[in-house]
Amino acid sequence: MSIVKRPEIKNTWYLPAILSGMGITFKNMILNLFGKRQMLTLNYPEEKYEYSPRFKGSHVLTVKKDGAIRCTACMLCATHCPADCITILAAEHEDPSVEKFPISYEIDTLRCVYCGFCEEACPVDAIRMGPEWQMPGINGANFVHDIRALAKRPNLKGGVISVVDEEERHKAGI
């Protein structure tokens, strides 16, 4: 049950409240006009917000030093994905030291909930959630990103190199 307060006399006068509100608006307008305070709004898309590097944005498939894709198609990301948006097809690699690799790796970005479980599950740092967050598309755009889009899109400038390197691990005797 709510308690309804009888309006006090001074609250029945609305003009003072309107005037004080307008006062705040004009004060801010004048301050913004002369740039004395940083504006809270951005002029998107000309201005863009810089998120922290830890921001979980669009996915990146990392590559090895030779440019080949790092993923070993172990399917741990697909297994952990709560949105079931990762589809991997594994195949036999001709190089026996690689053995297994993904012949296709697709993420349905419309299904993805950007939780970052794939990044955590990956044993070889093959998938990361990068800082990019602008992935718009107009009618008919493809939101199912394949290896080409995930590993070699122009923004990545040739690909991100994975921190887990098989050769270094072998040299270390693991």
Binding site: C74, M75, L76, T79, E92, K100
Partner: protein, 493 residues
């Protein structure tokens, strides 16, 4: 009968039982890699250590025979410590391949590590590198690095197939399993070595990288490949069927099955199935729903004199289906021209002395007894004579489900084509067949039923994942051909 105490439980066991069997029979956890109940005892993995009261040191359970009054435990701290260290020794040279290893998820090392291990390795030395991805013929890939030298596969080829292909080569930490000069391991039971391998050293080419095992469910059924009727588990998920593995049944197949039988999941998958019925209209083909096609065939059969209708049956369907066929369709319609299509009858008594029999039909016995019960004594020569004389107007062929075992298929197709109207019932498209109606059938993985093996043993097959839901079982077809509705699954006998 000796009585033993296992972890405090008193059990009575048969004379000469191995201690490890007592543990396994009583569902007590005991780590083991080299011991396999279907093979001899090697005692090389040293993991099944137990403490026997009055014995100063731990013993291995697989090579100890029970004696009356033994008090055995594997729950003491010293045993747990011992198992942990033995596991560490096994892992010294084992590569970190789990992400790309097909065994991950059903791997003995992973299970043991999660139970007893979960520690950082204390080994300072480098891992010994061995050969990877060694091609052993058309069925198996060998990874010598992952091998923990339990010698199960070596004993399998020595004792079960007696072909002796595999052996352990080199000494010390450079020991590895393999065949002489990497000769192919192509005997008909080779993939059993993949099943018994507790790690991912031997992997099956057929299943390699197809699916991770944790995506698969399994259900027990009976292999339809021959009249032995080996018990198998079929593994499937949303995408279809992926493999068959043997299921233990001491009286039929023990722990094994042949490699020919392992391929018998493929014909059930959607890419090779007949999805719709096909009707031949002159030179053209029309696709229609199986039920609609059955209705048309029903009208066709009613319009023909019953003496001019013939049915050819094969031994690849279940008892229940034969019973419905005879009782619901043939008896009410008075059709007596029923012929048993026997493929390679001269080979029916062949046996490879392990499992595989020459009769490649899982239910020949069931069909023969159904024919006896319906009092049908017809000979194949009759059918040939009648077809040659043009006396058959409507021929219904209950075709084989597994067509590659019917080597006489082309001749039989040309024989059956002499009938005025040919109706073929089959799960998969039949090569070279131009029948008036081809009606899609369900496979043995999509229906319940009973099949009878060569020695008269009745075994159940069960429905798992339905791949083509519109396809018909032989029972469904029989009901539709007499103009009845298919009974609901709950009420069907």
């Amino acid at each position: 009968m000796p009585k033993v105490h296992i972890n405090g439980i008193e059990v009575e066991v048969a004379e000469g039982t191995k201690l490890i069997d007592v543990f396994l029979q009583n569902n007590e956890d005991i780590a083991h890699y080299c011991y396999h109940p279907g093979l001899s005892v090697a005692g090389v993995c040293r993991l099944c250590m137990v403490e026997i009261e009055g014995n100063p040191r731990p013993q291995i359970a697989c090579n100890t025979v029970v004696q009356d009054g033994m008090k055995v435990t594997n729950k003491s701290e010293s045993i747990k410590e011992g198992v942990k260290w033995v596991l560490d020794f096994h892992l010294i040279n084992h590569p970190l391949d789990c992400p790309i290893c097909d065994q991950a998820g059903e791997c003995g090392l992973q299970e043991q590590y999660m139970k007893f291990g979960q520690y950082d390795p204390e080994m300072g030395e480098r891992k010994v590198k061995k050969r990877k991805v060694v091609d052993l013929g058309s069925k198996i890939v060998l990874d010598t690095e992952r091998c923990i030298l339990c010698s199960r596969c070596v004993r399998f080829t020595d004792e079960v197939t007696k072909t002796n292909e595999l052996g352990i080569f080199n000494r010390g930490d450079r020991s590895e399993i393999g065949t002489v000069e990497d000769k192919p391991l192509n005997n008909n039971y080779a993939v059993n070595t993949v099943d018994i391998c507790p790690v991912g050293a031997l992997t099956s080419k057929d299943f390699r990288f197809q699916q991770r095992v944790w995506y698969l469910d399994d259900k027990a059924t009976v292999c339809p490949g021959c009249s032995t009727g080996c018990n198998v588990n079929a593994f499937y998920n949303d995408k279809g069927y992926f493999r068959l593995k043997p299921k233990h049944n001491e009286e039929i197949n023990s722990y094994w099955m042949c490699d020919e039988g392992r391929a018998l999941y493929r014909h059930a998958n959607k890419d090779v199935r007949l999805l719709q019925a096909i009707e031949k209209l002159g030179d053209e083909q029309q696709y229609l729903a199986p039920g609609a096609a059955a209705k048309k065939v029903s009208d066709l059969m009613s319009s023909v004199n019953k003496d001019k209708v013939a049915v050819v049956v094969t031994g690849q369907y279940s008892n229940e289906e034969y019973a419905t066929l005879f009782n619901e369709l043939l008896k009410p319609k008075g059709i007596s021209n029923v012929y048993h299509w026997k493929n390679q009858e001269s080979e029916w008594n062949d046996f490879d002395d392990i499992l595989l029999r020459g009769d490649r039909n899982p239910n020949t016995k069931g069909l023969l007894s159904a024919l006896d019960a319906a009092n049908i004594k017809t000979s194949w020569a009759d059918l040939e004579a009648k077809l040659a004389a043009g006396e058959i107007d409507c021929l219904l062929v209950i075709g084989p489900e597994i067509q590659e075992y019917y080597k006489d298929m082309p001749e039989k197709i040309s024989l059956f084509s002499k009938a005025r109207k040919l109706i073929w019932f089959s799960a998969n498209p039949v090569e070279g067949l131009s029948a008036d109606y081809i009606i899609p059938a369900k496979t043995y993985l999509e229906k319940n039923g009973t099949i009878v093996n060569y020695e008269g043993r009745e075994q159940k097959i069960q429905q798992m994942k339905t791949i083509v839901s519109e396809a018909l079982t032989l029972s469904d077809l029989s009901y539709l051909l007499v103009g009845k509705d298919i009974p609901f699954a709950g009420t069907a006998s």
